[in-house]
Structure formats: C-alpha cells, structure tokens
Symmetry: D2
Subunit: 242 residues, 4 copies
C-alpha cells in the first residue's frame, strides 16, 4: 500500500472567514454582518489583494485537518518538526504490531541487489521484534530495533498560512522524496476545496520566482518563462522525474 | 450597544476529528477509516477518557473562529497577548472613524459624578480627534488621543486546547470584567456546539478545584461541595455579582 | 524623554552556539566538543553559509532580551502581536500613576494648532483620571480614559530568527513611525554584539531586494544599485526623512 | 558511551532578568534602572512570589541551550514534539556514518537472550547500511533501515517556562526511560545555575502534589508527606529503581 493523504475536515467556508478577517481591518462594520453579505467572488478578490501585499495573517483563520497514512518514521520525524501545527501520531510505545508495515524507497526498489538486501533486513527485524516481545521485552523497548522504514499514521492540523510555508519548503525537488510526495498531495487537496487560499502555493521557485538551493538547485525554475502557475506546478513535478 | 460574540465558523465534526486523533495513537487502523465508523457517543467517551489523563494535544485539531465586536482596546490589548491563536483586528491606522464608539465600565456607569466626567472626556476627545484630522494629521497619529475605552472589532481563531486554557484564566472572577464577560460568552457558545470538548471548561477553581489567587481569591470555590459542574459555573458567575 | 531601548541580556557567545548547531546537522562530532574548538571567524562563516541557504532555524538558539521604555500604548499594541516572543508589560490595571507620561507624534509636535489641542486633551485626561481615582473608581476602570499616547515600559525577548523577521517588517518606511524607530534601535544594538547573525538584517527591500508595498512603496529600493548593505541601511533611514 | 547532556549557554543573569520583568508589571520605574539596583536575594523572592501566583510568563525571558548527545532516535522523536523550543539535529540525510552508534535499552541489556538477538540485528543492519551505500543508494534512502536505536546529537533551546512544563511531563516515572533520564539531567543542570527559577521543578506529583496517571500511576506520591522538595525528587527517582 502506498502513502494515503485524506483531508478529514476543515474550517467551513474558509474563504469567507478569511476575507471577512481582511475586511475587518479596514472597515467599521462588524465581522458577523459582513460574513452574511460577502459573496464568494468578492471573498476571493479580497484574499488575493491582501495576501498579495504579504499580509498572510488573515489566512490563519482557515484550518485544515489531514489524515496521513502509511508514511515512514523517517518522513514523520521531519514532518513533526513543523511547530505551528498540531499532530497526533500512532504510538510505538503502546501499539504492539502484529505485522510491521514498511516503506521501501523507490531507489532501492529499482535496484535488485539493494532490494533483496533491504527485504532480508526487514524480515529479520520483524522476526526479532516479535521474539523480543515474546521474551517479555515491552513494545516501548522492543521498538528500538524497528527501522526508519516502519510505517506510521498521523492526524495533522495546519492553518492556511502554515500550509503555504510547508508547501514552500516541502514541494521543492530538493526536499526528501517522501515528504515531497505528501506535500504535493496535500496541496492538490486543499487547492480543490479552497482555490483562493492556495492558488499561488508551491515551492519557492513557483511562488517567489527564485531558488536558494545554490549548487544543489534542480534548475527547473529556468523553464518558467511565459508559463502559468498551473503549468509551472506540473513542470516542477515532471522535471524531477526526468 | 453591548459587546457581541459570534462563533463564525469551526472545524466540522470537531468531536469526531479529535476522537479519531485519540484512537490513532493506540490503534493500527487508519484515521480515514476510523472516522467513518465512530459514532458520536463513542467519540465523546474517547475524548473524555484521553483528556482525563491530561493528554490535551488531541483536542488541538478542533478550531473555532469568533467575531468579537464592540470590546474596548483595553480588553483587546489583553486578548492579543494569547499567542497560540490567530487575530485580525480593526486598524486605527487605516479606519478613519466618523463616530467613535466607547465602552463605559459598569463601575463608572453606576457613579453619577464619574459617569458625567467620563462622558465629558469622551466628547472632548471625539471632537479633538476630528479636529486633528481636519488639521491634516493622519489617522495613524490622530489616534494617539483615542482612549482605551474606544471600541474595536476582531476576528479570532483558537483551538479547543487553547480555549480551555483561555477559559481557565479569563473566566476567573479575578480577571478584568470585560475579558471575563467575553470569555464566558465564548464558553457557552462552544459548549453548545461541542459539549464533549468543553464540558469541564471554566476557571481554575471549577476545573481543578483549586484557587491560586491567594489573598485576592473571590472565595467562591468554598461553596462547591456536592455541586455539579454546571451548578458550579452558575455559582461562580453569580458569586461575583453579589 | 524619548523612547529608550536597552539590550538587557542575551545568550552568551551567540555566534558560537548557532555555528555549532549548524555543524551538528552535518557532522558526527558532538556539539559540546565542537563548541570548544570553533573559532569566531569560522563560526561567522558557518552561519553566513547556512543562513544563505535559508536555513534560519540554527539562529533560533540565540536569544536577546530588551528593555523597551517610554513607547506609546499604540506602539506596544502592535509590538505584542508578534507571537514568537516573550513580553512582560507594565500593567495599567495595577500601577496607579501619579503623573501620566505621554508620547506626542512628531507630526503633531510640528503643527502648533494640533499640538495645543493635543496638550489640552492630555491635561484634561490626566486630571480626569486622577478625579476618577478619587471618586473610588479602580485603576483598572479609570484607565479606560487613558489614551493610546500613554507611555508604557516592557521587557521583551526574541530569538535571532524572529528578530530578522521583526526587522524585515518593522524597519520598513511604511511601518508606523514609532515601532520603526524602535526596530532600528534594536537592530543596531544586536548588530553591535553579534554582527554575523544580523549583518544582512533590515527591511525587505534591503534583505531581499524587493518591495511588496505596491503603490504605497517609499521607493527607496530604486537607489540601491552598487551600494553596500550598510550604505543601504543609511539610505533607507535618510530617505524617509527627506 | 552513555547519553551526555551539557548546558552550552544561557541568558546571562537569568534571575535578575526575570525578576525585573516581574517588577516592570507593577512599578513605574524602568527595567534598565531596576536591573542595576536589584540584588540576587530580592530577585529570588520576587520570582518565587510571582511564579507562586501562577504567572509563569515572566520566566520566559531566561533561555537555556543544551547539547544532547547520544540519545536514540526513538527519544529524539519524542523530544522534538515540544513545539515551544528550538532544535537542530544531526541529519541522517547528509551524515554518512562510518560506524553506527546505538542505544541499548536497559531491559534488553539485562536479558542475555534478548541482548544477543538485539546485537545480531544491529550488526546485520550496520553491515547492510554500508552495503546499500556501496550499491550507490544515497544516505537519505539507506537510512530507511537504520533503527530507532541509532544514536543522534542535537542542540536544543528552551525557556524556563517551557522547561518547567517539560520537567513536569518527562521527569514522571511513567515517561519513557530515556527521555526521563535526559529530563532529570537537564533539571539538575539548570537548578545548579538558577535555583530560584527551578527550585520547585519536577514531575506533576512533586510540583502539584497530584498524579493524573490513573491505574498506571507509580504511586510514589503517596510517600511524600512531610518531605522537602529535594527529598521528594530523590524519592521519585529511587522509587522507580525499586
């Protein structure tokens, strides 16, 4: 099974809420009246203008909760480093696993010798983990031999501002492949429910037109001229696969 | 017009989302499957148990966005000190006010001499503010003579965990009267849409059975024996009015 | 008396600590050994390289605590909106002020008619505040007539990463004049004790070479060609005074 | 080699800074004057009184930076979940390890059969990791077979308020043994440099006199009567070893 990303729930009417927040700064009217009157098209324009000035705080009012399933612990360790977010993760201290699911990196899958070696290790580890439990070792301590490849599930909530920042870093071709896959999947799902909030989202090259990766840059930004943002997004993703 | 608090929007199905987060830590199942299966009664029990152990992080997944209208700048200055929250506030730099609305503290309203003095000041200030604008002073600088009593509106988002903390501090009879009124109003509104998340919310005396205000304590906690939490909440509010 | 900004204390050896954090990501050695070996010049180079790649998290380990004295409550209301920081502010609920100190905006000082009006208001307010106290109104409620111009003191702690962000926003000529003055004062003080951490700090135009203020832009960035960062800083400050 | 915890640097004069913050809320004087006048004994008393009322924000001004060396990735994964803190961790994406150091849980060390099995696994994994690198797999992907037991180093900064919270959770006998060892080590080191800030620190049972672990409680709090806090601390640590 591959990684699965599901948008579980989110703040209802996220664009109206954020647009009304933007209006509140500039108007004498009350937010509770303004939210009744604003139409979706106006909400969209208001968000675009205010975010265009770099005033991202107004989009913090929209929150999105995801289920992230079947990612490796290597990936989740990076993910939980984002501090302006809420995480609840499957515990290896408490969950005694019957079968231990693993993520195999594509570079290993593609290399027959490496893949055999990897699978042997996984098999050996799984058996040893179970033996340790049989020997009376607690799951908390037996998990010390579980590898980074072990799959995990988590529930994660981020607001739209933090999501933009997350996509900025993690949709970049220089990010680890697994968190990058996850980030793009998240991006398309929130773009679907709230185009106004996420229409310009993506890696730094797309959003700011610059690359700060120096010598390690994938170089895709050089192909951007004359492209729409949607074309750029596809370009960035395809570029990496070449 | 009095202060108005309106719950604008919130994470849909907040109890299911938080309960599934709680389950995720302990189960092999995926959050996206578990959310389909869980019923409201089970969700409630799960939250109660996990929060009872002090594991509040699971309720961070539920976010609530309020419109706060007609509070004083004295109150909003305290409010925005809460850092695990998102605020968008009416700007005195940009909004050129035609009529300046004010909050009059009850203790001043009740005292005829004080009230007259207060109103004279307000009248003088309002006129001076307009004159400063006529003299070419920008709203940004003219607002320097606007008092703490000036009303403001804001949009605020907090998650359930931070709301519990907020109620803990601000529903206390020792909190400033205005932010306390606001906090109780918020409490009843979220309690209405999500009883499982907020059923034990309130000031420290109600939730923890203790008071840390020392000599300044209002003493209401001494009357709590044998009372339900709902009775305690009413008792705390009434106690102050005596 | 004018505003006063004093750097009270800070993390000792801030550059070494941040440089060792940077090394820790890339080396097998331990931080406690590396900090003994690193010399100031190497520390500086390491920080420059890592921050140049946009990896700002390493400079979060350096914290700076300021005393901010004699700013208006208008200014402090903006200041405390920065959430990745710690603030402790003089309370108007508890401090019963004998003489009420005020900030007069320069635009009002320069305008004789406006200044007279402003001062009359201040005098009237001060007297009324005292009368309210005499009438038995608590400081908590009497302060409702104190204006935004009232001076306040606070202690504030920010880490170097948040300071860069703060300078980015608040050293801009479009920021409110008072918080801008404060931000520049802070910038020069931390630059003095830790040049490696702050050498590229300043408003967005200086750091990123761009301006997102649209039609409201002061335009100073157009004069930047061929200038060093120190010259640009002086240019930005002088430009505004013209 | 065992885990090593080293307090690298911290805010100079942490108690004076926090005490002056406390004074600032209540006095007309300026922080920069008050810090010159306050003596250590007064600083201590001021902090004790204010923290006693539950006003923890004043101790956020004191920051402490630690080097944490030789903990397992199982432990670091828990550690980085604390969000009000700054972390810089050794990267398994970039550091190609020649020899892979591991943490062996005491429960496994004590069990001859388990220890043999564990060591076989570690040996097999280490060799496989190197073979994967030889086969051209990047460290980023080869690390997928590295286990939770793999050692890591990190630099961490927390303020005193967050440290109290951290000790509250992680010094508890119910916390994972490794993060608990780390937390106690940190506690004694900060207690040494700043007794006034940390004199009442420890697990919930010590600080609040209560235990919320329900049926899983270690029960040590039942032995607390008539004991000083220092005696309680030793009791908690010894109790677990029994």
């Amino acid at each position: 099974m591959l990684m699965k990303v599901v948008l579980l729930e989110y703040t209802q009417n996220p664009e109206k809420v954020c647009a009304v927040a933007a209006l509140t700064t500039m108007k004498e009217g009350t937010p509770s009246e303004m939210i009744k009157e604003i139409d979706p098209e106006n909400a969209k324009k208001r968000i675009q203008r205010v975010v265009g000035y770099g005033h991202y705080s107004i989009i913090e009012h929209a929150n999105f909760t995801f289920s992230i399933e079947g990612i490796s612990r290597a990936c989740s360790h990076q993910l939980v480093r984002h501090r302006i977010a809420s995480f609840t993760q499957q515990s290896q201290r408490y969950v005694k696993m019957d079968e231990i699911p693993f993520v195999v990196p594509p570079s290993i899958k593609k290399n027959k010798v490496a893949a055999d070696l990897f699978n042997q290790n996984i098999k050996f580890l799984s058996e040893s983990y179970k033996k340790l439990l049989e020997l009376g070792i607690t799951p908390e301590d037996a998990r010390f031999i579980l590898p980074n490849a072990t799959k995990t599930n988590l529930v994660m909530t981020m607001n739209a501002r933090e999501l933009l920042h997350f996509f900025n870093l993690r949709c970049c071709n220089r990010a680890q492949w697994e968190i990058r896959e996850m980030a793009w999947e998240m991006l398309y799902q929130v773009l679907d429910v709230s185009p106004a909030l996420f229409e310009t989202s993506g890696p730094k090259c797309i959003v700011e037109g610059i690359c700060t990766e120096g010598k390690s840059s994938c170089g895709c930004y050089k192909l951007f001229e004359g492209k729409t943002i949607e074309e750029r997004r596809l370009l960035v993703k395809d570029f990496y696969k070449q």
